[in-house]
């Protein structure tokens, strides 16, 4: 018993206290979402009354197109996730597995370029998309495909770099063998590499999805019409601004928006952890 205490007690104590730290804000959001007065006010840890007013508001107030915001976010983030991995994986494969002239300098350049913080290029990107809008309004400023292009393009450097790190961890023996058998790079890519890399690619896809779902500044600037907004921008407008502090609907909206993401994350945590460590654990 004493030995158990010495060996395990500190583990439980630490885990429990950090777990409480993790849960505290989340618990607050949950009780705020049931609080009809709409403030993030902690008067007691146990809610005194439970009201679904905030949830009803989200779905029944015609001024708050909550479901449309949610749909926008899911579509944009989903498309960015899939496309960026489809395009990025091919580039990463080339940088990781193929030999060609200028590879080293290309990689160095890529490394440099992907470090440029996207937020700093905001004016430049705005001007570009504004020009695109004049001849192709469907993919320019203020359109969802336009924002998608910006996300896709802006994250391309980082994505290729990240994917290259993952691709490096996949053993090359199989494609070396295939090469000896006379397979072309295309065949190696589609028939050997892609099946091997699927778990890693899905993880990157998920991370890219979450990253896009979270993006705020560009979405706020690019998509202005009420029904075009993403969930992050829409929810922020509840509490941002001088005239608003509607924590109740914000909390309710955040919970609904987070549940699917948290659920995916928890159910795929094994793969995610493998993916996260893959980049590092090659020693």
């Amino acid at each position: 018993m004493k030995k158990w205490l010495r060996n395990n007690l500190w583990r439980h104590a630490l885990a429990i206290s950090v777990a409480l730290f993790s849960l505290f804000p989340l618990y607050l959001v949950v009780i705020s979402s049931f609080n009809p007065t709409g403030s993030l006010n902690l008067t007691s840890f146990i809610p005194r009354e439970i009201s679904f007013a905030n949830y009803t508001l989200l779905f029944h107030d015609p001024r708050i197109p909550y479901l449309t915001w949610m749909k926008n976010s899911l579509i944009i983030a989903g498309a960015v996730a899939v496309l960026s991995v489809v395009i990025g994986a091919a580039s990463a494969f080339a940088f990781s597995r193929l030999r060609f002239k200028g590879k080293v300098s290309g990689l160095k350049l890529l490394l440099l370029v992907q470090m440029f913080p996207a937020i700093l290029a905001i004016s430049a990107v705005y001007v570009i998309m504004e020009r695109v809008q004049t001849f192709a309004p469907g993919i320019g400023l203020g359109s969802k495909p336009g924002l998608l292009l910006v996300y896709l393009g802006g994250a391309m450097g980082v994505n290729i770099w990240l994917l290259k790190g993952f691709v490096d961890t996949i053993p090359a023996e199989l494609d070396e063998a295939a090469k000896v058998d006379g397979a072309s790079p295309m065949q190696i890519y589609w028939l050997i590499f892609i099946p091997l890399a699927t778990p890693v690619l899905s993880v990157v896809m998920l991370l890219s999805f979450i990253g896009t779902f979270n993006e705020f500044i560009l979405a706020r600037l690019f998509l202005v019409d009420m029904p075009d907004r993403t969930i992050a921008v829409g929810l922020q407008s509840f509490i941002g601004g001088q005239y608003a502090a509607n924590w109740g609907p914000f909390a309710a909206g955040s919970i609904i928006a987070s549940v699917p993401i948290v659920a995916i994350f928890l159910s795929l945590q094994k793969y995610i952890v493998n993916g996260l460590t893959a980049g590092s654990v090659k020693g």
Binding site: Q133, T134, F135, L221, D225, M226
Partner: protein, 415 residues
């Protein structure tokens, strides 16, 4: 090699063939006037457009609503010829900046339109002698008191402090800012204590003399807002968070509220017991801002080939009796135009109009925006310094006075 060539030509031919199907895209639909507005006014404007479709015969309107004033500002800052609006509903203090950026086009009013507005309102939307738009609605704040706690309106600033100190146990604060924030909304408190960013002479021009006496202000701050050991006495909180909730809960007897939010207070059963913030001498009142939001004409309108249409739209919608009344009915803020304002005002609108009538300071962006430090940043910092950080009021007031003085000098040269 031959095969390759055929392939290339096939692809090229296909591309050209497909491209040929689509005609070169038309320019923006003929005669469409684009109006940008914030998330509150935009939808209301949309409603206005659907109620009457011939504001300018032959033109259609497109309303774009931004999620917040900040987002609207950011987009307008970034806008260029391609994307910019023809008309923007903006705060009056954007006028100098936007005019400097070459984004605004001047308008001249006919006597009929001009008489709808006061000279001060038009001045609010002018920069370097040019008027850039039409006033739409009036923004001001008033001080509301909780009649369940205090029987009658306070006569002086000291009355309020005395009430608070006597009932401190049951109160969270004495006077707080619920609407307009700690610079715009809190001007009344600041001027009550003597801290004016600028003063207006009787003839309506800006007084170039030093607007604020740091010693007087420091003495007033110490007397009314601080305890003997230099800490805040709790009467006036340095932030606006929770003011509304606490006022409604009866924990704060006096609150400064905005004219755009009075409906919330009426709904909670409060009468519009409004007045300006009382001054330190009994029976005097301290001015707060009375500003207008304007519908501004942009230079993009000319580039989009709709300038005459957009100007006409400004006159027909915001300068006409019909337009002002219809918009007023939807928006519910006090209208800027005389016709709009005289149209069946509600208790709240009457109350705020009365407050503005007793005393108000026109909001002059050229002075307030400042040179290095703006009024908007300086005043909240002052509150934080003396009420939160417990710094000496004399030093902080001197800094504030120096900023106001510099801003006034720069503003006057810029007017």
């Amino acid at each position: 090699m031959k095969k390759r060539l055929s392939v290339v030509s096939f692809a090229a031919a296909a591309a050209v063939a497909l491209a040929g199907f689509a005609a070169v895209p038309a320019h923006a639909a003929g005669g469409e006037i684009v109006i940008w507005a914030d998330g509150q006014r935009g939808p209301n404007l949309q409603k206005l457009m659907s109620q009457k479709n011939d504001w300018v015969a032959g033109y259609s309107f497109k309303i774009v609503s931004y999620s917040s004033f900040d987002a609207l500002k950011a987009a307008f800052d970034n806008a260029t010829e391609k994307s910019g609006p023809d008309i923007i509903l903006a705060a009056n203090d954007w006028v100098p900046t936007a005019a400097k950026a070459g984004k605004l086009a001047p308008v001249t009013l006919t006597p009929k339109v001009k008489e709808q507005f006061t000279a001060g309102q038009l001045f609010d939307l002018s920069y370097k002698g040019k008027l850039y738009g039409l006033p739409v609605d009036v923004n001001n704040v008033g001080m509301i008191y909780n009649a369940k706690l205090v029987k009658s309106a306070p006569k002086s600033f000291g009355d309020m402090v005395d009430y608070y100190l006597a009932n401190k146990a049951s109160l969270k604060a004495g006077l707080c800012v619920a609407g307009g924030g700690m610079s715009w909304g809190a001007l009344g408190v600041s001027t009550a204590l003597g801290a004016y960013p600028y003063k207006i002479k009787d003839d309506g021009s800006v007084d170039s003399a030093d607007p604020m006496n740091a010693t007087t202000v420091a003495a007033n701050v110490s007397k009314y807002l601080l305890t003997s050991d230099g800490k805040s006495n709790g009467f006036f909180p340095a932030t606006d968070t929770g003011c509304k909730d606490n006022f409604i809960a009866g924990k704060v007897p006096f609150a400064i509220i905005g004219n755009w939010e009075w409906k919330d207070y009426l709904a909670k059963g409060f009468a519009m017991n409004l007045s300006p913030v009382p001054g330190t001498a009994s029976g005097t009142y301290a001015p707060s801002f009375g500003s207008v939001s304007g519908a501004l004409l942009t230079t993009y309108a000319a580039k989009h080939g709709v300038e005459a249409g957009a100007k006409t739209a400004l006159f027909n919608i915001f300068g006409s009796r019909t337009g002002a009344r219809m918009y007023q009915k939807i928006e519910g803020r006090p209208a800027a135009s005389k016709d709009g304002a005289s149209f069946s005002p509600t208790a709240g609108q009457k109350g705020f109009a009365k407050v503005a009538g007793i005393t108000s300071l026109p909001q002059i962006g050229a002075i307030l925006n400042g040179d290095k430090t703006s009024y908007w940043d300086a005043l909240p910092s002052f509150w934080t310094a003396v009420l939160v950080d417990g710094k000496a009021p004399a030093t902080e007031a001197a800094k504030l006075a120096a900023i106001y003085k510099a801003n006034l000098a720069k503003g006057i040269s810029d007017l």
